[in-house]
């Protein structure tokens, strides 16, 4: 990447003040800021590109975007995964037009340059037209993304050669991610296919909604809650026993009642299933995490993945300019689940959080209007309020890692998301991004620790 483009100084600190608790609306609408997000955030972050289960066999591929850069994610013969640009080095044409499939070759439609499943240039149509010295095929493959790594089934890639490791990037957020990815033997898989929709809103509005905005649920989703749960409104939250936790811009908001999200899925068989495995989950992950599972909760991985553990929707907010994002929706299930439970979960997700879902329908409308009002140049200068719960920080929680705040109706995770956003926008290199929470579980398998207080015992 051309670092000159990154160094071109704009200054972003003035756009956010998390100590006062406000965000400048220009981050949701200005083209210049958006362009810098592509360079400074998307081209330097570990981005989710696929789940292992989408590409089980050699030659399997999916196409996706990292920021606005199209890439192919391709399973190699040796089981490794390569990620490379979906753009031919000859004149730039796209080389793959499918969302997913299996291919030995990606052949460009324009002049017939052919690339293998590792992205290497194998040959071209009428190759005799090139004289010796015209082209070195070994250096004209599809451009490889600098780093590819995997956390418990989620494959991430990073364009930045100087990036920190994926483990450092996720940090102690791995402890929370295990609730989704490692609550049962065998890990997770995505249900086949992907539902995509297009929303005329800034990508960050989706991410911040899932990272911490439990607050909207009771109001926005009153209709959805009543539809899915026999006329009952959104379950009340217990402000004493619910939390926000934020690490490196990732965040999880959660109750500890264990049931709220499961009930909203509206599938009694799924509740039975989880009730059955919950004792084992408690042994596997510890008491705290088994209570977080299934509670009213939502989470985002910086910058653009979100999910609802328990409801099992898993989604990515792909930026398409400051005014638009594409939402990719999957269903994530445990591999060990019986097929009929997977089917129940899938139906439940699409009834709640698909584009026609009882909850989802009311969200897109809000985000679109939160974005489009900023076409007004006066409107866009009005700062937005993010102070909710600003004094509810819990220092030294014995179990929970991260920047922890009490009460899941809170803007804490959102504030910390925007803090990380500024940190990345300002950082000259990836190594300059400050850790706002020093990792405690470095090099350790987070599954084996019921919480921070377990560290001194070396795990359960």
């Amino acid at each position: 990447m051309d670092t000159n483009l990154i160094k071109k100084t704009m200054g972003f600190n003035h756009l956010i003040d998390i100590n006062e608790g406000w965000v400048d609306r220009r981050v949701f609408c200005e083209q210049d800021i958006y362009e810098q997000e592509l360079y400074r955030i998307f081209a330097r972050s570990w981005l989710f590109v696929a789940h292992e289960s989408q590409i089980p066999n050699a030659g399997d591929f999916v196409t996706t975007s990292m920021g606005e850069d199209g890439v192919i994610v391709s399973r190699q013969k040796d089981g490794a995964v390569k990620v490379f640009l979906n753009s031919c080095p000859h004149r730039g044409n796209k080389v793959c037009f499918a969302d997913a499939g299996n291919a030995r070759r990606f052949t460009c439609n324009y002049h017939g340059w052919a690339f293998d499943s590792a992205g290497s240039l194998m040959g071209m149509h009428e190759e005799y037209c090139y004289d010796p010295g015209d082209i070195d095929k070994s250096t004209h493959g599809l451009k490889q993304v600098a780093h590819v790594d995997n956390y418990k089934g989620l494959i991430f890639a990073n364009f930045d050669p100087d990036a920190r490791s994926l483990e450092q990037w996720l940090g102690d957020f791995r402890w929370y991610l295990d609730i989704l990815l490692d609550n049962e033997d065998g890990g997770t898989e995505l249900i086949g296919g992907c539902i995509k929709s297009e929303i005329n809103a800034n990508w960050k509005l989706g991410v911040e909604n899932f990272i911490g905005d439990a607050y909207h649920a009771g109001w926005t989703h009153d209709s959805g809650s009543r539809a899915m749960n026999n006329g009952e409104p959104f379950p009340p939250v217990d402000m004493e026993n619910s939390f926000h936790a934020s690490i490196n811009g990732h965040g999880w908001e959660f109750g500890l009642e264990g049931m709220g999200d499961l009930v909203l899925l509206g599938r009694p068989k799924v509740i039975e299933y989880y009730n059955r495995i919950r004792p084992d989950m408690a042994k596997r992950l510890g008491e705290m995490r088994s209570k977080i599972f299934g509670s009213v909760a939502s989470a985002s991985i910086f910058p653009n993945i979100s999910f609802l553990p328990g409801i099992s929707t898993f989604r990515q907010w792909q930026p398409k300019g400051p005014w638009k994002f594409e939402l990719k929706t999957w269903v994530i299930v445990n591999k060990a689940m019986p097929d009929d439970i997977k089917d129940e979960v899938t139906r439940g997700v699409m009834q709640t959080f698909g584009p026609g879902g009882a909850f989802e329908m009311d969200d897109g409308e809000n985000w679109e209007n939160c974005t489009t009002v900023n076409r007004g140049v006066v409107t866009r200068q009005e700062k937005l309020h993010y102070r909710c719960g600003i004094n509810r920080k819990v220092d030294d929680h014995p179990v929970l890692p991260g920047l922890v705040y009490r009460g899941q109706y809170n803007d804490a995770n959102q504030r910390n998301f925007y803090q990380h956003w500024v940190d990345m926008m300002e950082a000259p290199t990836a190594n300059d991004i400050p850790y706002r929470w020093e990792p405690k579980f470095s090099g350790l398998e987070t599954r084996d620790f019921a919480g921070l207080n377990d560290l001194k015992n070396g795990g359960k």
């Binding site: 037009f97 499918a98 969302d99 997913a100 499939g101 299996n102 291919a103 249900i191 086949g192 296919g193 992907c194 539902i195 995509k196 929709s197 297009e198 929303i199 005329n200 809103a201 926005t220 009153d222 209709s223 959805g224 009543r226 539809a227 899915m228 006329g231 509206g266 594409e326 929706t329 999957w330 269903v331 097929d339 997977k342 089917d343 899938t346 139906r347 699409m350 009834q351 698909g354 584009p355 026609g356 879902g357 009882a358 989802e360 329908m361 009311d362 897109g364 409308e365 809000n366 679109e368």
Partner: protein, 178 residues
Amino acid sequence: MTNGSAQLEAPTLDLIISLQQVLYKEARLMDQERYSEWVEMLAEDLHYFMPGIETRYRRDETDQIGDQTRMAYYNDNLDDLKKRLRRLETGTAWSEDPATRYTHLITNVEVELSDQEDHFRVYSNFLAYRNRNERDQDTLLGNREDLWRRKGSSFELVKRLIVLKQNILLSKNLNVYL
């Protein structure tokens, strides 16, 4: 989509017209958001299915339409569909107030007898137009394949397969039935 009906008799003009009228009535009820009346037209054993469609190469053998374990916008039985509709009755479906303006156009209606008595296969195309607030609008287009069952003097919908001709749903939600 299967078609094992080569040897079946041709439907009578009467039958064709009756089923066409049923489709038009359905469209009118949807346009007017008269969902409780629409539900009356649905069978107890309804399967209402609209798969998600990925873009894949011709050689790819993934069964995107027949495989019901894959992601689908709708994969509902009657209870599931009623649950979705319940949202509108709560009075707090904020994004539906002001109301969306709908028009459903139903065309290319083809009726076939099926090998089950009193069950009729009906193919049709739809164009559903939605307009909200000031200039918020979109158009959904696709094919449907239905199974209707004779019920008293009318018919009830037993199966509907909807194939929407979009890869990315080019709108923020799907507050419309097709």
